[in-house]
């Protein structure tokens, strides 16, 4: 009928092919490619994170150490801003026109349609007056936030601080944190971050193309509520903590007190300290920069980071090892003639003690006696096996937590230093050193370095007659008061209980009539030991370690006052005030006529003599913006430097000996 009849196939073919092309593309975007599904979801669903309140921290009596203070951010959605009285607005917030424009520009740059923070952390009073007039400022809104607040302004290094998550933290968290989130940077805030931060809630809200909210996605099935951070109950006693910080005003040093029967840290003073409220709120950046530049390094957590030669405070431990090894008896006597012959050189003693037994040697801090004990220990396996003997002596010292991390629950704890035999092999040569070569170890000098926490822990161990609980700063977590299992385990140090009494006798004598007699507390039997840590850079560091009462001890303590002289003069009285305040709740009149106010008022800060290099560094630091990260790094550096410096000190050939 028609000559072009067959062309219908071609036309039908074109129809089929083009429709199949469309179907192929549809197959690809609908079935193969999943991206569009996500795009559509992101289009309408916006995840809002509900930040839970960070957990508060209480002291052991239930007193609040850190809580959350409500503040408010003013937010703005630039596109929603309509004409309003800018002058009035600026006046209300106390900003000028240029500042207003700058903030608006920043918000607009971020997104014209999304909420940005216009002004951070305004005080509740300002919030109230702003909120009243909010309707006059379309596009602006307020958003509650919370800041950390420290009612007592104390225990800064223990609590640590929180700060905005850095890039490194965000990376490490695997995306949990986002920029602008607050996270614990130091102290307990850091080590208990996961407990304190609580659980974030998520709200999936639906928004239409005009950015108007349209309710919850899937009726809120996927939403979760925020769970507030858990409360931490600290082992600290705020009363003695505050007393300790007061006593250490204008001094450099530490006070660490431990409850021997639990390992709970009662007092954790790092001096000089700072007011933790300075690192909160709008002035935070400036304050942090100032503190960072402070030459006395207030960010340095001395109780766990500073290293000191234990000096004579080490002697009880030295004696205990000798007794356990059966090399000395409490009744053994030694005749002190004012010096000890270590090989062919004299180790000076503080004075001529005459004939002393163990208790007398501790009470009078006789260097000669302990050199004798140490020589016995190191020669126990014969003069040629000093290496072996030394290694087992070191192991015994390590058992006290000395030279190892105790695992306290705040970051950056130092190990201290008890050198290995290899260390001396290197220093001299293998077999080239004897008990006489390392004689100063006997009296806590030489290479030995300990943190104040380690010193306090040794006292807790002596108080317990042979074991300690891991010292810790948080005694219970949350409303259920969960106690970590590791804090209920007794760590035995390998010394039988019977050997403690003679040593404790000596320590009681120290306070009763020995080098620490000025610190005797009427009615309380305190056992202690003074120490003077040698400092080649200036005056010696004053040390005192003690526990009290003698029977059923309630508190073990270590006090270090840098650059102040000998142990009995400064550290011991300060320790005695803390002990008495803790045990009795007040400080009584002392027969020695010492009173806390004298110690509080005394300024013992060492003069800071800046080397040209340091001056240059500080100047350079003040120019660059100080980030909190660099503060932390600085801290670590200073730990290393302190260790190095002390180690160098120890290697000086001329050694002045202890009291």
């Amino acid at each position: 009928m028609n000559s072009f009849f067959e062309r219908r196939y071609i036309i039908a073919g074109i129809f089929i092919v083009l429709i199949l092309v469309l179907l192929a593309r549809l197959f690809y975007i609908q079935v193969v490619d999943d991206r569009y599904y996500l795009f559509a979801k992101n289009n309408v669903i916006r995840r809002y994170i509900q930040y839970p309140a960070r957990g508060p921290i209480l002291d052991r009596t239930g007193k609040i150490m850190v809580q959350n203070e409500p503040v408010y951010d003013i937010t703005v959605v630039p596109k929603q801003v309509k004409a309003f009285d800018t002058v009035e607005f600026c006046k209300l917030l106390g900003i000028d026109r240029a500042g207003f424009d700058k903030r608006m520009e920043k918000a607009r740059k971020y997104s014209p349609y999304r909420t940005s923070v216009f002004e951070k952390q305004i005080a509740p009073q300002l919030y109230a007056s702003f909120q009243e007039r909010l309707s006059e400022f379309p596009g602006f809104d307020t958003q509650p936030r919370s800041l950390r607040d420290y009612p007592d302004s104390a225990a800064a290094q223990f609590l640590g601080y929180i700060g905005e998550a850095t890039e490194a933290i965000i990376k490490r968290s695997g995306g949990y944190y986002s920029p602008g989130d607050y996270v614990g940077i130091t102290g307990v805030e850091k080590s208990y971050e996961t407990v304190l931060r609580g659980q974030r809630g998520v709200q999936n809200l639906i928004y239409d193309s005009h950015n108007a909210p349209k309710g919850h996605y899937a009726n809120g099935v996927y939403d979760t509520a925020a769970v507030a951070g858990q409360r931490l109950i600290s082992s600290l006693d705020m009363k003695i903590q505050k007393l300790g910080e007061k006593l250490m005003t204008n001094k450099v040093g530490s006070i660490v007190a431990i409850e021997p029967s639990t390992g709970e840290i009662l007092c954790f003073v790092s001096s000089p300290t700072y007011n933790p409220n300075l690192l909160v709120g709008r002035e935070r950046g400036n304050n942090a920069a100032k503190l960072y530049k402070d030459p006395y390094k207030p960010f340095f957590t001395r109780p766990v980071q500073a290293y000191y030669p234990p000096g004579s405070s080490f002697k009880p431990l030295s004696a205990l090892i000798g007794l356990q090894e059966g090399l000395i008896k409490p009744s053994d006597t030694y005749n002190c003639i004012g010096y000890y012959m270590a090989g062919n050189h004299r180790v000076k003693c503080t004075h001529v003690h005459g004939t002393v037994n163990l208790a007398g040697a501790i009470a009078g801090s006789c260097n000669g006696y302990f050199n004798m004990v140490f020589a016995k220990v190191l020669n126990a396996k014969g003069g040629k096996n000093t290496d072996d003997s030394y290694t087992s002596w070191k192991a015994n010292v390590n058992k006290f937590g000395f030279g190892e991390r105790l695992g306290v629950d705040i970051p950056s704890e130092g190990k201290g230093l008890v050198p290995t035999a290899k260390y001396y092999d290197k220093m001299y040569h293998k077999g080239g050193w004897r008990s006489t070569t390392v004689a100063s170890l006997a009296i806590g000098q030489g290479e030995l370095l300990a943190t104040p926490l380690q010193l306090a822990n040794i006292e807790a161990t002596i108080a317990n007659r042979g074991f300690y609980y891991k010292p810790h700063l948080i005694k219970a977590i949350g409303d259920k008061q969960v106690i970590k299992h590791e804090y209920t385990v007794k760590n035995y140090v390998g010394i039988d209980a019977q050997y403690f009494e003679p040593v404790i006798n000596g320590m009681q004598s120290v306070v009763d009539y020995g080098t620490g007699q000025g610190s005797k507390i009427p009615g309380i039997v305190m056992c202690g030991k003074t120490g003077t840590a040698q400092n080649p850079h200036g005056k010696n560091h004053s040390l005192f370690v003690a526990f009290a009462p003698r029977d059923n001890p309630k508190i073990a303590i270590a006090v270090v006052v840098e650059n102040s002289g000998d142990g009995g003069t400064w550290a011991a009285p300060i320790a005695s005030f803390i002990v008495e305040q803790y045990l009795r709740g007040s400080i009584s009149q002392r027969p020695s006529h010492i009173f806390p106010e004298y110690y509080i008022e005394k300024n013992l800060l060492p003069a800071i003599i800046l080397k040209p290099a340091d001056k240059a560094r500080i100047k350079a630091d003040s120019l660059k913006k100080v980030s909190l990260d660099s503060i932390r790094k600085q801290k670590q550096d200073s730990v290393k430097k302190a260790a190095l410096r002390s180690a160098q000190t120890a290697m000086l050939p001329k050694r002045r000996d202890d009291e």
């Binding site: 028609n2 000559s3 072009f4 009849f5 062309r7 219908r8 071609i10 036309i11 039908a12 074109i14 129809f15 089929i16 083009l18 429709i19 092309v21 469309l22 179907l23 593309r25 549809l26 197959f27 975007i29 609908q30 079935v31 490619d33 999943d34 991206r35 569009y36 599904y37 795009f39 559509a40 979801k41 289009n43 309408v44 669903i45 639906i206 928004y207 239409d208 193309s209 005009h210 349209k214």
Partner: protein
């Protein structure tokens, strides 16, 4: 024969069923696209979906009326219809109301508007069928070709002046009608080659396209070297093609308006503007793609519900189908269209009267062109061109004109055994 027993028995009921299916799909998807919480009923006349129901009902009345007409009348009235349509197209340029930048509507008062370009489609088809079915007219004859081309071009130019690019393009599809009636295959081949060259030279460096053309030419020359005349044609074609390649960019830049170029750039991937020019299309692709295999379910499409896609009840109605019914919905709708198109070809070919056959091809071409352009636009294969999806998109003018277009064919078909229109 059967026509004695009344025309309804001769109506192609399969086509009617497909028609009804597409209208129903349209109605439900309009309901989903512009769903209003305050007027949830699909029959609520306050809403687009309520009104669409009225349009479908009146469309059916219109279809029945057409079936009651005399076939002869349709052929006889076609020149007059064409003239009236052309006059309306001129009128709309003078008094038309703008919608989306186009002067396409005549306000009839009482909320009713008329879009003459919709009616121009079947009017042109009818006149083209009448002219080409005349005994002494052959498309291969240059004079006849020019007249036929003129019939198509006149409304095309008037619509272009509104300007309504979508409807203008639809008239191009009538080339299928001419082809079926004997137009040289070269027109199709050359058209295809030109489109390919144009697009490739916009996307790639012109020199690459030239090299590709030379390689193809050399390969073709080697395989047909004995056929001298064909070889000559191929070489001439290649030379013209190379000239065209270098003309493409200036043509593109001078011949098209900025907003048109922007839309094309987005499709060709020459610009990545997802916020402004590309926004609508991007959101449309997201909507369709997010439907996955089975879709999100009726009234559950978030892209649709929260108004991320513009014109979702009219030009972008396919988004709603793709999002809420997924690939299954896409296959169903495209399957129905393909079935309808093949059915129309079958109907056209079984006509004794060339008038009916030619008109049938016109119907198929126009529906095909709408479907391809509309869906290709929704999935980003074509620049954004405002053109409704036949029987599905919201709107009385569009639905009625497609109903008239299709039912005229059904009327002609029901009479196919009867009078021969010479």
């Amino acid at each position: 024969m059967n026509n004695q027993r009344g025309f309804f028995f001769n109506v192609d009921w399969i086509t009617v069923l497909i028609y009804l299916a597409l209208c129903t799909i349209g109605w439900f998807n309009i309901h989903a696209a512009v769903f209003d919480e305050n007027h949830p009923s699909i029959l609520d006349l306050e809403t687009s979906y309520g009104r669409q129901f009225i349009f479908i009902l009146t469309g059916l009345v219109l279809g029945t009326v057409i079936l009651l007409l005399e076939s002869r009348f349709l052929s006889a009235v076609s020149p007059a219809l064409y003239v009236v349509t052309v006059l309306m197209l001129i009128l709309v340029l003078a008094v038309g109301r703008g919608v989306g930048g186009n002067q396409a509507w005549i306000d009839l008062g009482g909320g009713f508007k008329l879009q003459p370009s919709e009616f121009a489609k079947f009017a042109t088809c009818l006149l083209l069928a009448r002219y080409l079915s005349a005994t002494n007219v052959k498309v291969t004859d240059p004079k006849s070709f020019l007249i036929a081309g003129g019939i198509i071009l006149l409304p095309m130019v008037l619509i272009k002046m509104q300007p309504d690019d979508g409807s203008t393009l639809v008239f191009c599809s009538l080339i299928f009608v001419l082809y079926r009636e004997g137009l040289s295959t070269y027109f199709l081949v050359i058209g295809g080659i030109l489109i390919t060259l144009f697009i490739t030279s916009l996307i790639f460096n012109e020199w690459y396209v030239v090299i590709a053309v030379i390689i193809v030419t050399v390969l073709a020359a080697i395989s047909i070297k004995r056929n001298r005349p064909l070889l000559f044609k191929v070489i001439v074609g290649a030379v013209i093609s190379i000239g065209f390649i270098f003309a493409a960019k200036p043509l593109y830049n001078k011949g098209l308006k900025k907003h048109q170029r922007d839309r094309i750039d987005v499709v060709l991937g020459l610009s990545q503007d997802k916020k402004h020019v590309g926004y609508n299309q991007n959101q449309s692709i997201i909507a369709i793609g997010s439907g996955r295999v089975w879709g999100k379910g009726y009234l559950q499409g978030t892209q649709t519900k929260y108004a991320f896609v513009p014109a979702q009840s009219t030009d972008f109605i396919f988004c709603t189908i793709g999002e809420e019914w997924g690939f299954a919905g896409s296959v169903t709708v495209l399957g129905l269209y393909l079935f309808l198109l093949l059915r129309i070809i079958l109907i056209a070919e079984r006509q004794r009267a060339p008038f009916s056959r030619i008109y049938g091809y016109g119907v198929a071409s126009i529906i095909f062109c709408h479907v391809i352009i509309n869906i290709a636009m929704a999935i980003g294969y074509m620049p954004v061109i405002g053109i409704p999806l036949p029987f599905i998109s919201y709107g009385g003018s569009s639905l009625w004109s497609f109903t008239i277009l299709l039912f005229i064919l059904l009327k002609l078909d029901s009479n196919r055994m009867g009078i021969n229109h010479a």
